[in-house]
């Protein structure tokens, strides 16, 4: 018990890194993923096809492989970034592919008549997306999107493997000094669980909030 309490300030630093990595990745994947998902759904073939290949490829790789690939291969292409940004790059690439698929599923659930009604009053493509499609697709977008956020927090633990002192690595460093793995891993599990459980509670609230009854 003492170990757990004494380690808290140190773990706090790690937790901040975990939250920071997660937040940056979630925002980047959100913006990129929605753009890719819209391109995938409505783009001409020369837009949709490369996105399809990107998404299938990225989602087919284990996240760890992706992180190591970026970490070791980016420098070879002459791009020098810190391990922090390399890890973020890899996580964002991975999650954006998932967000793209979530977006595709959500926007394609909107019937063609809605697009036609938008066209008929003279809305441009962008306006139809913002005022007609997205508000209706939100309900189908949110639950699987929160899943990608949860998986981002979980996946962020892998950045410890390229030497970033996040919550995971902080825990392991404490274990390295105290030789008491059990309480520390239990504490770590509780912290990760608390974050993700809070997220799924938010998800449920939002889902109810945006449930426009239609059927």
């Amino acid at each position: 018990m003492n170990v757990m309490i004494n380690s808290l300030p140190f773990l706090w630093q790690g937790l901040l890194v975990t939250l920071q990595v997660s937040a940056i990745v979630v925002v980047a994947a959100f913006v990129l993923g929605i753009s890719l998902g819209v391109g995938l759904s409505f783009g001409p073939r020369w837009v949709a096809w490369p996105i399809r290949i990107y998404s299938d490829l990225i989602r087919g790789l284990p996240l760890l492989v992706l992180i190591f690939s970026v970490y070791y291969m980016l420098p070879l292409t002459g791009v020098n970034v810190t391990s922090f940004w390399a890890a973020i790059f890899a996580l964002a690439a991975f999650q954006s592919a998932h967000v793209a698929e979530v977006t595709r599923g959500a926007v394609q659930s909107i019937p063609p008549g809605q697009h036609e009604a938008g066209k008929a009053i003279g809305l441009t493509f962008g306006q139809r997306m913002i005022y007609v499609v997205f508000p209706q697709a939100l309900r189908r977008f949110l639950p699987p999107w929160i899943n990608t956020v949860v998986s981002t927090v979980q996946g962020s633990a892998l950045v410890s493997l390229v030497g970033i002192v996040d919550l995971m690595l902080a825990i392991q460093q404490v274990i390295g000094r105290t030789f008491k793995p059990m309480p520390m891993y239990i504490l770590g599990a509780l912290i990760y669980f608390a974050i993700n459980y809070a997220l799924s509670l938010i998800s449920r609230t939002l889902e109810a909030r945006f449930a426009y009854v239609r059927e």
Binding site: G113, Q114, E116, A117, K119, A120, I121, G122, L123, T124, F125, Q127, Y131, V132, P135, Q136, Y212, V213, R214
Partner: protein
Amino acid sequence: MSVSEPLVKVRGVTKAFGSNNVLNGVDLDVPRGSVVSIIGASGSGKTTLLRCVNLLESYDSGSIEVDGVEVGYDIADGRRRPRGERDLARIRADIGMVFQMFNLFPHLTATENVMLGLRKVRGMAKAEARATAEQWLVRVGLGDKLASLPIEMSGGQQQRVGIARAVAMNPKVLLLDEITSALDPELVGEVLKVVRELARDGMTMMLVTHEMSFARDVSSRVVFMDGGRVAVEGTPREVFGAPAQSERLRGFLARIELREV
């Protein structure tokens, strides 16, 4: 542009879905202030023609002009180029359309449905758009439904919102695509009444319909389409009164009347 020039001018329009030729050279004029009804069996191309007028469907060849502007293409260096998104949006804003399945925006109230185009396309201020929307909704008899969502309205009420949404944009021409086909019989009347009033006020309309008595009643011209062409065209009296001129029209009208009895 002379006033006598037809508002909608369709010339030699063809359209194929794959190997299926839906339109085979359609010629049609819609004079300003007139109501043209398009009738015909399903598969005759009447809905496709209507959808070509605001380019919900593209056409392969021929020309559709609305108020002197080619809808689907702009002509540069003598060559036809499909219109871009912004161009199309601008043209469509002046062509109203009411749909068979209403296609109201389910996340918006009746007033917001009508306001959307006024705000984002016409650039009206919020208060002005709201006032205009409410004015039209009152006119179609929905003064007590301003804040209702589509789900809270009957089919007939939803369709009247659909009409208000289209006419509030002050379009040059209004396209009505089988707007009563999805309604319960007792709700058809309230929708047709609104269309009649619009016709009386001089709104130029093209309508596809299965309501023969309505078409006879409200139209200046009636067009019978068959096999992707205009087979018979004339005043309601000519088309419904003297069907001897076309065997196909006679057969079509006989089948419709059987259904109406």
